[in-house]
Subunit: 341 residues, 2 copies
């Protein structure tokens, strides 16, 4: 049904001639065609207008021909739907003017109806599927409940999310109640995304690496496990935990189809820590795309050799940076397409 | 010669009745007596006035009786001495208005005479030693060359130090020349600190965890190795790399006396990754000091049981946070003093 099914076959662990490739944040600020739309429409307009979101989603595919598309959206649409104000401030990032800091704040947080509150995402998926015309699969995504809690409590990005962790450690009851509301919303949301046509789901635990292994179990993994349990029979799920090397073994046993790893994990360590069987995705340092294109190609070839071409999806170890030259991003993709062992 | 030599004995790997304890940033904003001086004197006045720096250094010792003191200072006194402007902006952190971004910028960077440029630190050490009266050892410190480069190039703190990594990956020659100047300055500086009376040295690689294992070798470890080589016959050296779990094995072979670890490394993983022989230091999550004091005591006891009382120095996994109640910090120290296996 999907013409280029390399990505889906890698998720199943099948043997492939070369690994599939896509890039986290591939629909992003390094692309001139993205910047054109960014300069015309504000962040939420781009997210909430299916014509714009679907156009932005397919822009990098047209230019580079990745093996999977990922819907242009944001993990913070979830708290927004849960009745928590989210603003996107230029040159600052997300800002939540009414953060959740105690039980009273939590009382205002709802588990919303998805069609009512996030129907625009589902429309964007349907429109993107039409544009992709079954050429490649479409990935839908959500933040992990822990990562969403970080923003809901802190109210903005942070070096250490001290307020978010402070709530967890001083008032775990409220923290867990918030995590459960986020989890329930996320599961309902992702199920609707599957119905709308997504072919795989990635859960981003961007701030999981701020927790100790014991606290990770309590405040992140158990909620991601609920998500995997609810979805894995319908669709392949990828778990990506930035800085979560210490949890790879548990993640590998979760029922997820693949695990994302960042560049601090060598391919050898990543295979070892994840038990050697599950499909892995990653892990090129996004800043390494500032090296000259010839050096990028050499490093990508070596990365594939070290991970092995099977049970492997080539990606960055985090989102592509805005200051990457377009030819350097191109060298990354080409190196994979030219790969032979 | 030093009355309480628990810390020095742990660094030598000797058997002790209980592990020693100190806290990174123990002379800091959680202490009301520190805030009194902070409100009266700006950051550089506090660093550059030996009476103030030594007073601040001994404040936490008077209140809690840690087993080691660490000189109040800052890792950015090094670039400042190297002819790079450093400002400390309230509610912002370090700001370097003339960052080093290319070969031309680098030409202005000097390897200074330590007595001329950093004599105030040496005077603060001598004054602190008098105040400590040989009761406990005094730790001197420096940033790792990589971590100092991060600030010199980026010009301020950053989530990903994209500009610093960009220089390394697009113009490695300039990056290495800067790293070598920083290393030469740091070695000369630390040798003077030893002469002035420090009993141990800690090197903080706060941003080493931003690098892949291969890049870590090239841009951080080889320069820390030069520092260890230059100092290890004179004084015990502790290497602390935040997020550097992947480098613990190499660090353990460097000749350092101990390695600091952060809280993402379980005691078992830390012992395994470091080869099981070297003294380890850490690794309580600073945010976990927001738990109730009774819970803190229980977690500290468990942490010591898991690391083992020997070849171990109890510490946090990063600096203590400003919002920690003084009784919670007290519970952390008491739990170690009350420890029995």
């Amino acid at each position: 049904m999907i013409k280029n099914d390399l990505f889906l076959r890698a998720l199943k662990g099948e043997t492939v001639t070369r690994p599939p490739v896509w890039m986290m944040r591939q629909a992003g600020r390094y692309l001139p065609e993205f910047m054109e739309l960014k300069n015309k429409y504000d962040f939420f307009t781009r997210c909430q207008t299916p014509e714009l979101a679907s156009e932005i989603t397919v822009q990098p595919i047209r230019r580079y021909g990745m093996d999977a598309a990922i819907l242009f959206s944001d993990i913070l649409v979830i708290p927004q739907a849960m009745n928590i104000d989210v603003e996107m401030k230029p040159n600052f990032g997300p800002y939540l003017p009414n953060p959740i800091r105690n039980e009273a704040d939590l009382a205002n947080v709802i588990v919303p109806d998805i069609q009512d509150s996030l129907g625009y995402v589902l429309d964007a998926i349907k429109m993107t599927k039409e544009k992709l015309n079954n050429e490649i699969p479409l990935i839908g995504f959500a933040g992990s409940p822990w990562t969403i809690l970080c923003y809901c409590v802190q109210g903005q990005g942070s070096k250490n999310f001290d307020l978010a962790k402070g709530l967890c450690f001083s008032d775990p009851k409220t923290a867990h109640a918030l995590l459960q509301k986020i989890t329930d919303t996320t599961i309902a949301y992702l199920k609707e995304k599957v119905k709308a046509g997504c072919n795989a789901i990635q859960v981003f635990d961007s701030w999981g690496g701020m927790l100790s292994p014991v606290d990770y179990q309590e405040f992140s993994m158990q909620y991601m496990q609920q998500i995997v349990d609810a979805l894995k029979d319908e669709i392949p799920v990828i778990l990506f935990g930035k800085g979560c090397w210490f949890a790879l073994n548990d993640m590998a046993k979760s029922g997820a189809s693949a695990l994302g790893v960042d560049w601090t994990c060598s391919p050898k360590n990543a295979r070892y820590l994840s038990g050697g069987q599950i499909t892995l995705q990653g892990n090129f340092d996004p800043s390494r795309l500032l090296s000259p294109p010839a050096a990028i190609k050499k490093m990508v070839k070596q990365m594939i050799d070290e991970f092995g071409k099977d049970r492997y999806i080539v990606n960055l170890g985090h989102g592509i940076l805005p200051n990457i030259p377009i030819e350097n991003a191109g060298a990354f993709i080409e190196a994979v397409k030219e790969y032979s062992a």
